[in-house]
């Protein structure tokens, strides 16, 4: 037993007790005859003190030799502090040291172990074990723990079984790139790491498990964008004998429960919005509905007035920024610069200020009269004092650009409060999307997603118009989860593979086991997967998932702390029947 108490639990009630604590030296104040040290552990911070006359000389000497992050074991009497610290639970007391043992020394850390550190991203990743000591990082991982515990309790309470599915599975060319694992016992053959347990959870439904979930690692060998990780965690779920509304209601229940338990936030019922409406009003399938600023189609009032840019555009879209007519020239120029950034890609931006006096001021005054602009304002529901921002061009590109501008304006106008949570179900996604590169349809969700029954007749005639029983859960503009009602009929699944350009042989080679399973009594079923890393970040009101992963990888997929990946030795390669064609940069 190294301690009787943690560093977070002693208070005035313990005064007079002799206690032991253990932890790290956070701050050391050496005032000559008196030395204070804050000792830190996961649970808190406790001040220890040594003073000439009150403690033995050798203890004072030891205290004076202690550096930052030394590991200490301290025994002593709890006494009342002279100058109390009301900010921490242990702020009323301190421990007068009667025994002290330095359990381990510490080199000076390469960055400060404080809430705001002086260490850059790269350094903190290299010394991740020190970065993890900082309160904000630890709090993130504590939140993650709590979220996983509460998720499991809730799922258990509604009869979901957690079933572990295998990690060493089979590679399939559909979807993202697989990580593969060479098999030593099966020469020339490879396992793949799962991108998701999709087929296994469907098989569990065929097996009658009725309600399955799993908090599970998934793997995708993609070129990493900022905030993508090669390994990530999902709350993966599947239910049998359900329709879309059953799934939505079940996981609305989970989400509400998590927000209530973790944040004490009561969420209202989640609205449903179909994909078409989301694209029309927000130009995004994951709209942030904490604020309005919906897109207005201005074609009828903006076209055919001699302004060629608008006349030649497929669409002219406006949004109304309330009470922003006061924007200065400089502010408007910055907005124009924003939309012209390559990441947004607009050619320019038109504005209309709806002045308080009823007049209008626009960047295209020479093409439009005051009456014309009034018609814009009427159509866009802009009131005196508002600012209309207008983009134009091809439909898809303009929507995408306007989505960026809308989110930017929402942030600028303070309409995106991180503590305000607005969930939304986006439903009725298209079943397929056309891929220009491969000149074929790809499954928008995945090849097991069922088409809506009422669109069956378009499967051959107009595949692009077929809607799917697919849905996403969006909170504050972030996609938290997505799922679908699956196909459970072998013939329909075969038709789907055919639409996606699989030959029957390819379909059989890759998914034969699933199609076979469908012949032995497959129930209707559907499910959802939540991005767990993303859910953690969203509940914490933060954006980067990396801060919620204990040991993340960088954008090259490297763990810079352990220096992985790394070359393996020739004997290992030989056992795996492999030769490398890479030019080796190191032995």
């Amino acid at each position: 037993m190294y301690r009787t108490h943690t560093c977070g639990e002693l208070n005035a009630n313990n005064i007079g007790e002799t206690v032991s604590i253990a932890g790290w030296a956070q701050t050391i104040r050496d005032k000559g005859p008196i030395v204070w040290i804050d000792v830190r552990d996961r649970y808190g911070m406790t001040q220890i003190v040594g003073e000439t006359g009150r403690v033995r000389d050798e203890i004072l000497t030891t205290l004076k030799g202690i550096g930052r992050e030394f590991v200490l074991q301290v025994t002593g009497e709890v006494v009342e502090r002279h100058s109390k610290n009301p900010d921490i639970p242990t702020g009323d007391i301190e421990i007068v040291v009667s025994e002290i043992k330095i359990l381990n020394g510490a080199k000076t850390p390469p960055f400060t172990i404080e809430d705001e550190t002086d260490g850059g991203e790269e350094l903190r990743m290299q010394y991740r074990y020190l970065d993890l000591r900082r309160n904000p990082v630890r709090k993130n991982l504590e939140l993650r723990h709590k979220l996983s515990i509460e998720t499991r309790k809730y799922m258990d309470s509604i009869n979901f079984l957690e079933v572990e599915t295998p990690y060493l599975i089979k590679s399939t060319p559909e979807g993202a790139r697989d990580f593969v694992v060479p098999s030593r016992m099966n020469p020339g053959e490879f396992y793949a790491l799962p991108q998701s347990p999709q087929t296994f959870k469907q098989l569990l439904m065929v097996s009658g498990y009725d309600r399955y979930y799993q908090i599970v690692k998934c793997f995708r060998d993609e070129d990493l964008r900022a905030d993508r990780q090669p390994e990530f965690t999902q709350i993966d779920c599947e239910m049998a004998f359900v329709e879309q509304e059953d799934v939505l209601n079940t996981f609305e229940g989970l989400t509400k429960s998590l927000f209530k338990t973790i944040l004490n936030v009561e969420l209202d019922n989640f609205p449903r919005m179909d994909y078409v409406e989301a694209m029309e009003k927000y130009g995004s399938d994951k709209p942030d509905v904490r604020f309005g600023m919906e897109f207005k189609n201005l074609n009828s009032v903006a076209q055919n007035k001699g302004f060629n840019v608008f006349d030649s555009a497929e669409i002219v879209l406006g949004i109304v920024a309330e009470q922003a007519a006061t924007y200065t020239r400089k502010q408007l120029d910055k907005l124009t610069d924003f939309v012209k950034r390559p990441q947004v890609g607009a050619k320019g931006m038109v504005y209309v200020k709806c002045n308080e006096d009823g007049t209008f001021k626009s960047s295209v005054d020479k093409f439009y009269s005051q009456e014309d602009l009034k018609a814009w304002a009427d159509l866009a529901d802009a009131k005196a004092g508002d600012l209309i921002l207008v983009l134009s061009g091809d439909l898809d590109a303009t929507r995408k650009q306007m989505n960026e501008l809308r989110l930017h304006m929402g942030s600028e106008l303070g309409l995106r409060n991180p503590a305000d949570y607005k969930p939304l179900w986006v439903v009725d996604f298209p079943l397929l999307e056309w891929d220009e590169d491969s000149e074929r349809y790809h499954a928008m969700h995945h090849p097991f997603t069922s088409p809506k029954a009422e669109d069956f007749d378009k499967l051959e005639s107009a595949p692009g118009e077929v809607r799917a029983n697919a849905y996403d859960l969006v909170i504050n503009g972030v996609e938290i989860g997505g799922g679908s009602i699956r196909i459970h009929d072998k013939a329909l699944q075969a038709r789907m593979f055919d639409l996606l350009g699989f030959t029957p042989e390819e379909a059989k080679a890759q998914f034969g086991f699933l199609m076979d399973a469908f012949e032995y009594g497959a129930p209707p079923h559907g499910g959802i997967a939540f991005g767990f890393d993303r859910l953690c970040a969203t509940l914490a009101g933060q954006e980067s998932i990396r801060d919620f992963i204990a040991f993340p990888k960088n954008n090259s997929g490297r763990d810079v702390m352990i220096d992985a990946p790394a070359p393996i030795d020739g004997e290992q390669m030989k056992e795996l029947f492999l030769n490398s064609t890479a030019e080796r940069t190191e032995a």
Copy 2:
């Protein structure tokens, strides 16, 4: 909504209600004008009935067309059954069908979906999704779910944080063989899949997380024995500021809690036995202590009496089978055959029957007088009516053989009741074991295990005698978990790597990050890992872990259902900078 109730919840209280259920046709009894079908789901079984005059003609026709494992949705009135079935909760009622929909047909399954099936192992693995429908398999996975939930609740209640550690890590030659994952973004380099999160959990202790656990998949590319899996699950745990007793008490608490919650079994405090004693008394580091039959060293009474086999033996060991003097010649011959099996490897067995009349009868009567044999019986604590079984030879081999014989006799005499649980901590394992092949010491537990402080002085002079702060939890002769107090001092860790034959450069290349971490304030720490698959099997009183894994692999590491591993295409190989040297047996 496909159903108002599951197949497990309707009873006499529901009589008169109109309900809907959905599930699989388990048994169909067609008696002409009346048809009964048992409809099954995860929650139970409910009988539906259709009879001429009571249901519409087309419903009767539909019922008659239904085959085994068809998926049905049934609506009807709950009525009292004429002949009740007291064995199932729904046995008082049946549903008179008013609507029926065949949600999916089913081919006849290749084996029966019954508790005792007619399907062989291979067939059941190929159609695992059908095998999973059988009650015993489902119950195993339900137990596994419950065990994981209860483990997490308990660990959470005592302040352990579940932290996810990475799956894509770095290969280390120490220990078993790693599965590796080629990196596309880092040509010529490989990740490894973790054999355990060992180094990460130690880093979390350096990070001050104090109490960590994780239920986590681990991977070992070993030649598979029966009941080994290339991927398996651990309850992985680590604590800071602890000594060995703290760890033992904590996980004794967990184990007791699980037995109480899951089985309603109250376990007594777990005894501790040191490794030396376990080897002396039971010839095993995981003794089954549900019964005695401890080894007795008979050298003093068996040697130097002219029996060359014993005289030339390093050790003569006896065990006493109580009240087995009545064993027939045939029974004794079978025991001799047992010990001579290659898996056991003894050359022969000597017996001494302690007859009820005080005489002795042995297989070596010509070398030993009645007085001699009485001395054996006295030394071995054998009483009239008992049978002494004796093996001899080299110490290690004889202990191993005698362990097998003891367990065999325990089973034969009914001393190994699966419902009787006898846990035991085996402690004070040797730190190192000599490996003949590589002519160097290997870490018995792993290279991070700390030697006992009182044995430090033997580290150079007699490394083989140094004991470790290492411990195993054994229940009924099965190793459930094992762990150690770790080294937290860089110098000692370096010395340990040196003992294990690492050059400083090798140690730095492989574990530099850990040794660096030890310089920044590493606390004393230790932990344990439980074999989760094994724990499930033990709680269920069963032996095979495969029956507790949803989708296990066979002894060649193959998943025969999905047919993995499998060749990957040339493009994928190219992207990974790999050539295969295997002779491809298929395209």
